[in-house]
């Protein structure tokens, strides 16, 4: 057991910190959120140069063989920078899924392309009405020709507008299966929109979308376990991103408490506000501990251990995030609720992280149910 980062990890953190300060300032980010793409393609290229897009992949497929702790560190910095690039959908979620469940050919085909920044991916799994449960898949896959024909509808697919390929889940006679689908395949329709936090997503309709035999990822009917693992992995990353945001919000809020004056003194002299700030710091330190737990366990191949730790972490980090986000807004007074200040944007991102792949209540329920088995 040790709690230290390696020299390489600290160097990576430093590189990202400098990149954000220099090339990803808040005003730039604000403009990006309103642009057609909704993110910075030049930044994506820089991420590729930094190795971020290759980080979690095996060396055999152009990757850097980074650990989940490396990813945690990156996510924390992307959180601080409020990065809009589809890193989670492409690298963490779909990249992780292909790494863990793809065939050698699929890995060969996809991972170097992701690592090089040429290919973006999105996971089209959740459906309207299913909320966060991962086994609620109504889309169908029927054998057709040499492959399958996919029909159904997918809800709020993060990163879909920029994705060259989608990983689509559908139910066949074996259960839930996963298919790699080119975004331009006939019968696939996207309704794209921005999300509350400035990212991009889409609802997707699949109408007789024909895919070949090579499109199947993992065993037929084996999709649920694969998606569960990938979502756990993504949730661990989201926890780290949230911790990065919470740290940033605490720094910004603390600075505001020291500089904003009312009644002739900095408002940080008032004990009511001091204690609230202390609560935010305590919550963030505790959340950091849980995000670390999630990162370390997300690499585990023991599904029960992994999902228990990630559920616990997501529940706890999101509870903490709610407190820190809401109080950061409150302590900024009127400035907390305006668009021109970064505080509101951090708060929105934190809130949307909670609403992605299971909120605090849902995750607490998952964790709580493990107590029945113990």
């Amino acid at each position: 057991m040790n709690f230290n980062y390696t020299e390489e990890q600290l160097a990576l953190q430093d590189t990202l910190r400098r990149f954000i300060a220099k090339d990803y300032a808040f005003e730039h980010r604000r403009a990006l959120a309103k642009s057609a793409d909704g993110f910075d393609r030049a930044a994506w290229k820089t991420f590729a140069d930094f190795g971020l897009l290759a980080l979690p992949f095996p060396e055999d497929f152009g990757g850097l063989n980074g650990s989940a702790v490396d990813s945690m560190l990156v996510m924390e910095m992307l959180g601080r920078g409020l990065a809009l690039e589809p890193y989670v959908p492409t690298v963490v979620l779909c990249g992780g899924l292909i790494r863990d469940a793809g065939s050698a050919a699929q890995k060969e085909d996809l991972l170097p392309a992701i690592a090089g920044g040429e290919l973006m991916l999105a996971l089209a799994h959740h459906e309207a009405g299913g909320r966060y449960a991962l086994d609620r898949v109504a889309a169908t896959a029927t054998a057709a020709g040499n492959g399958w024909k996919l029909d159904g509808a997918k809800a709020v697919v993060l990163g879909a507008p920029a994705a060259g390929k989608l990983i689509v889940s559908a139910r066949d006679s074996n259960g839930i299966s996963l298919f790699l689908v080119d975004a331009k395949t006939p019968g696939l329709a996207l309704r794209a929109y921005p999300t509350q936090d400035g990212a991009r997503a889409a609802d997707i309709v699949l109408n007789k979308v024909q895919v070949g035999a090579e499109a199947l990822i993992g065993p037929a009917g084996g999709g649920l376990a694969i998606v569960e693992r990938a979502i756990d992995y993504a949730n661990a990353a989201l926890c780290a991103e949230a911790v990065g945001i919470m740290s940033a919000l605490n720094e910004i809020t603390l600075e505001y408490l020291k500089t904003r004056k009312q009644f002739g003194v900095p408002i940080g002299k008032f004990q009511a506000l001091q204690h609230r700030m202390a609560d935010m710091v305590i919550a963030t330190e505790q959340a950091r501990s849980m995000a670390t737990l999630a990162a370390v366990r997300a690499d585990s191949t023991d599904a029960a251990e992994r999902s228990r730790a990630v559920a616990a972490a997501k529940a706890y980090v999101m509870q903490s995030a709610r407190l820190v986000g809401q109080q950061a807004v409150q302590l900024h007074g009127g400035m907390g609720v305006v668009d021109e200040l970064n505080v509101g944007h951090y708060f929105k991102r934190l809130t949307m992280i909670a609403m992605t792949f299971g909120d605090a209540d849902y995750q607490l329920g998952r964790f709580s149910d493990t107590l029945l088995a113990a």
Binding site: N2, L254, Q271, E285, Q286, S289, A312, L372
Partner: protein, 402 residues
Amino acid sequence: MDLNFTAEEQAFREEVRAFLHAKLPETISRKVLGGKRMTKDDFVAWQKILHAQGWGAVGWPENYGGTGWNAVQQHIFDEECADAGAPMQLPFGLKMVAPVIMAFGSPSQQHYFLPRIIDGTDWWCQGYSEPGSGSDLASLKTRAVRDGEHYVVNGQKTWNTLGQYADWIFCLVRTSTEGRQQEGISFLLIDMKTPGITVRPIIMMDGEHEINEVWFEDVRVPVANRVGEENKGWTYAKFLLGHERTGIAGVGRSKRELKKLKEIARRETAGGRPLIEDQRFRDRIAQVELELMALEITNLRVISAEGEKKRAPGPEASILKVKGSEIQQMLTELQMQALGHYALPYIHDGLDDAWPGDPLMPAYAADAAPLSGHYFNFRKTSIYGGSNEIQKNIISQMILGL
């Protein structure tokens, strides 16, 4: 970054476990696990057993008889001791006055007192708070006036834990009224047998005698029993409180009590089903478990960092104190709540290890008897050691610079 225990750490855990299995008397562990009343002899006997093993003061430097264990090893030791039902090692000697004597005491004080702390000879208690000086500790008024080679001490201390058993008390006393109030305080070691000391019980709301008032009337204390310099006692007092706060995280004990809570929730029934199947109650257990999982890692992060810097715990320890005490309180509250009706009976004998239960009550009432009392007793945890509000002052002022 690696949260997994290494093979060496696992082997160390086994070693601690084997020791506890062999040496922890069942007569003692039964009381601890059952939440029963402890005697002075229980605590002293366990300290002597630990000392015989060379583990009497695991956190001390090796030259004073400590183990040289790192933070992770100490954590494993705490966790295993708590889980096995070992009595808590009371902090007043080992974790409070001893570090002060090591850091600021004279060689003769170190030579005399430290061996007697580690081997269980001397029982120490704390003389900090006064009726008029709680959170504002530096306003304390107990006077020590120099008379030749003695100080003559007059005043009153309060919230003195288990002083009815104590051989020695460490006291903050006022030796000067000049300047800031923090600048006129000295740190004295006082023999409890000295004429003029009176210990009066304060009964807590659980009905137990755990704390006392200590009165000093013309108590003569040799100047040689002053630690460090005259009027510099506040510095030593703050140093001591930093040490007090880390122990207060109490992760090992809370893990044990969480386990007990789950056992109660599996045994109790609600609507004919085990209480743990009641989602509303189960979610509350889950919530406190999350808090505890986070605290365990935060605790390790803080103490590992301190170990590397070789320094006393800093203001970060306040985070551990706040969360640790909140968790302990949540656990006692849920244990009480899990009992349903049997939270109500107050049975004084129920805290005695020998109480066989009552033939008219269900069998588990014997185990249940102490639990509501613990809930009432544990309201102390967010008050003592610097109230949680004071901890938040420390965080906002010393960490954040507000």
